[in-house]
Structure formats: C-alpha cells, structure tokens
C-alpha cells in the first residue's frame, strides 16, 4: 500500500476519528441531531483540520518539543478564529448556517490529536492529505449518525437543507403523523446510535480478521507437534 493510500485508509476506516479513536465526541454528540447539521459541522472540520495540519507541518522545525502542545493549541485557535471571521465576512449566507459550528471545532480534540500524531512528524503534502482524510472520515460517520437520529427522532431526512439550498426542502420519510421519538434527538440517543455504529465497525473488523486467519490456516496448515 502506498503511503497516501494508507493515510486515506486510516482516516476513512482503520483509525477513523470517531469509530476507532473515539475523539471529538463533544461537538459530535451535540450537533448530530440532523443530517444537514452534522454534515455542515463536518465540512467546517475538514477545512480546519487541513489548515491546522498544513500550518503545523510547515512550522514544525521551529517548534521546540517541550512547548509543542501550547503552540499547537495557539495555532489551532488562531486558525479557527481566522476561518470564523473570514466566513462571516466573505461567505455570510453560509456563515449563518455553519457559523455556530465553527467555534465548536476548537473543542474537537481530533484536530490537536492529528497535529501531534501526524503533522508534527510529516511533510506538508502528506500532512494536508491526512487532515483531509481524517476530516472526510469524520464527515461520513457524523453524517450517518445525524441521518439515523433524524430519521428515528423526526421521521425526516435532510430537514433544514433549505438553510443551505433555499430551493430544496427536507423529505418526510415516515408518515406525516409520526409522533417522533424524542430520545433519538436528545443526547442519550446520540450515545445509543454511536454505540451501535462502533459495535458495527468492530463486528466488521472481527469478521475480516477471522477470514484472514482462516485463509492463513488454509494456506499453511499448522504442523502437528511431533509426539515425543
């Protein structure tokens, strides 16, 4: 596997920030009430992770090891502030939708974790790509979580899309008189759905491992120990 393929695979699945590293759960659980909210936060997170990984990879030779964490936090907080202001000024319509999520990204420890584990040790291009892939891995899981919670909780999908694309509107999947299932939208519901997703990932991983093992056993059957 080439280095970039491995970075992509780590971000999307193997080291997935939510399913494997269980990082950044605070904004994750707070915002994943609907698909649109979840994906919006995820897109803002991708942007910040790419910027943070890029900046720290570029500056890594200048940062003394002893004070790297405060410097990382300083850089991440500054970048988030700059992104927040720039969105507000230049993409105001989008800011009205995403604006509340951008400051939340500072609380997402996945950004600091990737900077520390990857960008501080790797080159510019690989680091930026790692930020992108970790971000995409975050988006697909938080999006799935948001879609499941929205579907169970309100019986809709894509509700709130009109905030981003005024011509579209949410789809009522379940009958109009669906009473809703509030717990899916409240924080405990986020934990339930997240637990199911993690269990599903572990099950898939365990199955893949068992198949690999069976294949190996098939190819190289164990030699029966010689009887003394």
């Amino acid at each position: 596997m080439s280095a970039y393929k491995e970075i992509a695979w780590n971000g999307l699945w193997k080291q997935n920030s939510i399913l494997a590293q269980l990082l950044g759960l605070c904004p994750l659980l707070a915002v994943s009430t609907t698909l649109v909210n979840a994906v919006s936060l995820g897109l803002a997170t991708i942007l910040v992770m790419m910027l943070a990984n890029f900046a720290i990879s570029a500056l890594r030779a200048l940062i003394p090891y002893e004070i790297r964490i405060p410097v990382f936090i300083l850089i991440i907080a500054a970048l988030v502030t700059v992104v927040d202001l720039a969105f507000n000024a230049f993409l105001h319509d989008l800011y009205l939708v995403l604006g509340i999520f951008i400051p939340l990204i500072v609380t997402n420890c996945i950004v600091l974790a990737r900077v520390e584990a990857f960008a501080a040790k790797n080159g510019l291009r690989a680091s930026t790509f790692d930020g992108l892939m970790m971000g995409v891995g975050f988006v697909w899981v938080i999006g799935l979580l948001g879609a499941v919670r929205e579907f169970i909780g309100q019986g809709t999908i894509f509700s709130g899309i009109e905030m981003i694309f005024p011509t579209l509107s949410g789809i009522q999947v379940l009958p109009e008189d669906y009473p809703g299932f509030l717990i899916a939208i409240l924080p405990p519901g986020a934990f339930f759905v997240l637990a199911l997703l993690i269990a599903g990932r572990n099950w898939l991983e365990a199955r893949a491992n068992r198949r690999l093992l069976e294949k190996r056993l098939h190819e190289h059957p164990p030699v029966a120990p010689a009887t003394a």
Partner: protein, 234 residues
Amino acid sequence: MSDPLEIARRESSVLRISVRTAAIMLGFTLVFTALMAGTYKLTEPLVAASAAAEKLRLIGEVLPPALHDNDVMADAIILPPQKVLGTDDDSRVWRARKAGQPVALVFEAAARDGYSGRIGLILAVAADGRLLALRVTSHKETPGLGDYIDPKKDRNKTRPWITQFNGLGLTQVPRDKWRVKKDGGRFDQMSGATISARAVTNASGRALAWAVENRDQLFALPANSRHADEGAKQ
C-alpha cells in the same frame, strides 16, 4: 559534581534554555495574535455590514415596510440593559414613522426561562399599543419539540404558532390573560412542550407592557440618543 562552578554553569544553561523557550512561545503568540487582529481589522466593515443587513431583515419580518416611510435603521435609540426585557447588553429601539407620525417601536427582548437557555425575540409594537408581530431570533429549544416557536420549524405552515399574537394588545387581552392556556391564559401551547411556549408568551407580555408604558418617551427621544438607565428613571 558538587563543584560550585559546575552547578553555576548548569543553572545558567537551564536559565538560558528557559528564556529561549519562553521567547519562542512569545514569538508564536505575537505572530498568531497579529494574524487574528489583522483578519479582524480586515473583515470588520464587512461583518458589520452583514450584521446590519441581518437586523434589517429581522425588522422587516415583524414590521411590514408599507407601514412606515422613514429609515428605521437610522431612527434608533440606544437602550441600556433592561431587566424587564431580559437584555444583558445595550440594545436598540427602532422607531417607525409615517409622515412624521409614530407608527411602531421595534426592539429586542429575551426569555430566560426556556427549556434550554435564552430565547431571543424581536417585537414590533404599534403606537396604539397592539403587538404587530414577534419573531424568535435565537433559541436552543429541543429540535422537533419546542422549536415550533420559530415559524421556520413550525409544522403548521399556514398559521404558525407565533402568529397568534399578531394584532393583539393589552386592551384585547388583559395582562393577566397574556399567558398560555395551561396557565389559565389565552394562548395555545403544544402538549409536551409547554415550557418553550410559556417562556415566549410571558416574555412577550412583559415586553409589550414595557413598550406601552414607555411609548411616549421612546418616540420622543432624538435619534442615536441613549434611553435613561433603569436606575436613573426612579
């Protein structure tokens, strides 16, 4: 090892490293603070312009443009924090006039007793004491349950919950009936989410009574002047 010269040398090198590290930290802080300050300065006029446009849009939602002919954004007074309105910071009261005659007051208020946190409101109160309309500007009520106070989230699109206040004043609905039905008042609430409706209803009643009481003074003050503080009024 107990050679005093050696100890002194080691201490000075520890000191040197500390100073160097601190200087680097300071350097990073300066550079990134400058970056933030620069972006802030650069974006400030654009941000202020979009905030003003956003305010204008909100005012337009509660105040039909046909009712007035003055520049509402320019004809504003500054209001210090008012306990009865639930405001923490300076806010503005915009005055709508037609041919110089007072038409309506538009101002912001907040309910602090929502289900989760502060509910921001904007109200337009006509000069005759009727509430023209109100809107929720910000809230954190439960999605799908308490968020019907915002007409964009209300499932009843033809007659959203928040519109039942339109056109009513304290002469039509007495002050002690300006409550949700569950509290013996006049206004509907949705079962299972009374708290959100109660918070908005009570806050709008308080704000309406305040506007009616201070109406003449609010219309009379010159534009961009400051309304007397709560304490100074006594």
